[in-house]
């Protein structure tokens, strides 16, 4: 307990660091994967390649990636950019498949109706496809968020510190409490991000959260 009180400031510091390091890959991964998945869905060949690309990206082991990235990006090994790039790659890997599924799940008759109303391609994407794929996209982003927040801790191995610092130090000093505090704080952050995303979903997509949705009558 004493340790906890003495290191309160440091825990907060690393928690903040942890959040900062997580936000960027979640956002950038989503921003890259969503349009890419939508584009790829348009052609049979690219659509079927999405799953392969996702799996290959996700299969890259994280530690070697973190060691190779500095050479590839010509960055210093301690530069946080390395871990951010690595995490963005994993975020894209997860998000590509779920975004592709999200767009494919839209009722084709609604797309047909939008075309018939005279939506151009861009307006159709932003006003119809994106909102209607929204709840499934959000589900994907929530997975990305949790996964990123847990992966950030790996950065401690290459000196980019987050709550992962406590895993490493706790292990080195054989001090389980420190490890447990690291785990609990990481889980709390994951929970916090998840709740924020859920609230965003409710605010941005009110049509999914009104009363009991009636069956649409088929004419």
């Amino acid at each position: 307990m004493n340790w906890l009180i003495l290191n309160c400031a440091q825990i907060l510091h690393y928690a903040l660091q942890h959040m900062l390091l997580s936000v960027f890959p979640i956002l950038l991964g989503t921003l890259v994967a969503v349009p890419l998945a939508r584009l790829a869905n348009g052609f049979r060949l690219t659509r079927s390649s999405i799953y392969v690309a996702s799996s290959v990206l996700y299969a890259i082991p994280s530690l070697p990636l973190l060691i190779f990235l500095p050479a590839l990006l010509r960055t210093k090994i301690l530069n946080p950019v390395n871990i951010e790039v690595a995490l963005t790659i994993y975020a894209i890997a997860i998000m590509l498949t779920s975004a592709s599924h999200a767009f494919l799940s839209i009722d084709p008759s609604v797309i047909h109706a939008a075309d018939a109303m005279g939506f151009g391609a861009w307006k159709k994407f932003f006003q119809v496809e994106l909102p209607l794929a929204g709840s499934q996209l959000l589900a994907g982003i929530r997975v990305v968020s949790v996964s990123t927040i847990s992966l950030v801790t790996v950065g401690s191995l290459i000196g980019v510190n987050s709550l992962g610092f406590f895993f490493l130090e706790g292990y080195q000093r054989d001090f389980p409490l420190e490890i447990w505090v690291g785990i609990a704080a990481t889980a709390l952050i994951a929970l916090l991000f998840d709740q924020i995303l859920a609230i965003c979903g409710r605010v941005l997509m009110p049509w999914n959260h009104r009363r009991v949705t009636r069956e649409r009558s088929a004419a």
Partner: protein, 252 residues
């Protein structure tokens, strides 16, 4: 009238990729400011024919003239915004409220959203819906309400041409008759060029200044006024299609 104002399908045919012949060499005209009723049993190519007008379907052969001009030369997006279209299944956007659904096309055309909504509210009244439903989403409406919103949306940009695909199919007979009367009243005021699709011959006779009857296989059986079809059916198919309708009317 014969000279090309309104909509003219000229020897159009459509075979879908899977080999289904939906429309087979049909020529018919929808006269300007009049209602053409397209009638035929399920699968006889009514929707296909209708969608050739706003270029949702491209015929394999033949042309569609709008006010004398081949619509293949027109920009599809602009063309679609200029034509009111009531889709067979309602076709409302689930992520937009009733009001915003109705305002869709004017907003696409550049009308300010606020103005478009004011007009949309008037249209809600026009098609006999309560103003209180304006902020609902389509999933919160009954099938009949959805269809009426669809009609209001088609009217919103004040188009010259109105394509209506079985717009009153999801309502009970009494409400349907109300809506039909409402449409006749509206049409006497606004005088659009209407193509009205139905599989109900009575509805076709009631609403159409002219009726085009399609046969299974997508060929045209006969075109004419209700009187002409009743008094001089072209063949036994036309006669039996009309008789089936009359029989039902008598039974009702």
């Amino acid at each position: 009238m014969e000279h090309g104002l309104g909509i003219a399908w000229k020897s159009v045919s459509k075979t879908y990729n899977d080999g289904t012949v939906a429309v087979n060499n049909v020529s018919v005209t929808a006269d300007e400011h009049r209602t053409l009723a397209l009638v035929g049993s399920s699968g006889s190519g009514k929707t296909t024919l209708l969608q050739m007008v706003n270029r949702m379907v491209t015929p394999n052969s033949g042309t569609v003239l709008i006010q004398g001009q081949d619509n293949q030369g027109m920009n599809p997006v602009t063309l679609r915004r200029s034509i009111g279209y009531v889709l067979q299944n309602g076709g409302l956007l689930p992520n937009k409220t009733v009001l915003d659904n109705i305002a869709t096309v004017p907003v696409l055309q550049g009308t300010r959203r606020k103005d478009a909504r004011v007009h949309a509210l008037e249209l809600l009244d026009e098609v006999g819906l309560e103003k209180s439903i304006q902020n609902r989403y389509p999933s919160e409406l009954s099938g009949g309400q959805q269809q009426r919103v669809g009609v209001a949306r088609a009217l919103a940009a004040n188009p010259e041409i109105l394509l209506m695909d079985e717009p009153f199919a999801a309502v009970d007979p009494i409400v349907r008759r109300n809506l039909q009367d409402e449409l006749l009243r509206l049409q006497s005021e606004i005088g659009k060029t209407i193509v009205f699709v139905t599989h109900d011959i009575d509805e076709a006779f009631y609403l159409g200044d002219k009726v085009a009857l399609l046969r299974p296989g997508g060929t045209l059986a006969q075109v004419g006024t209700a009187r002409e079809l009743i008094d001089h059916p072209a063949d036994s198919f036309v006669a039996s299609f009309i008789n089936a309708g009359c029989l039902r009317s008598e039974l009702q």
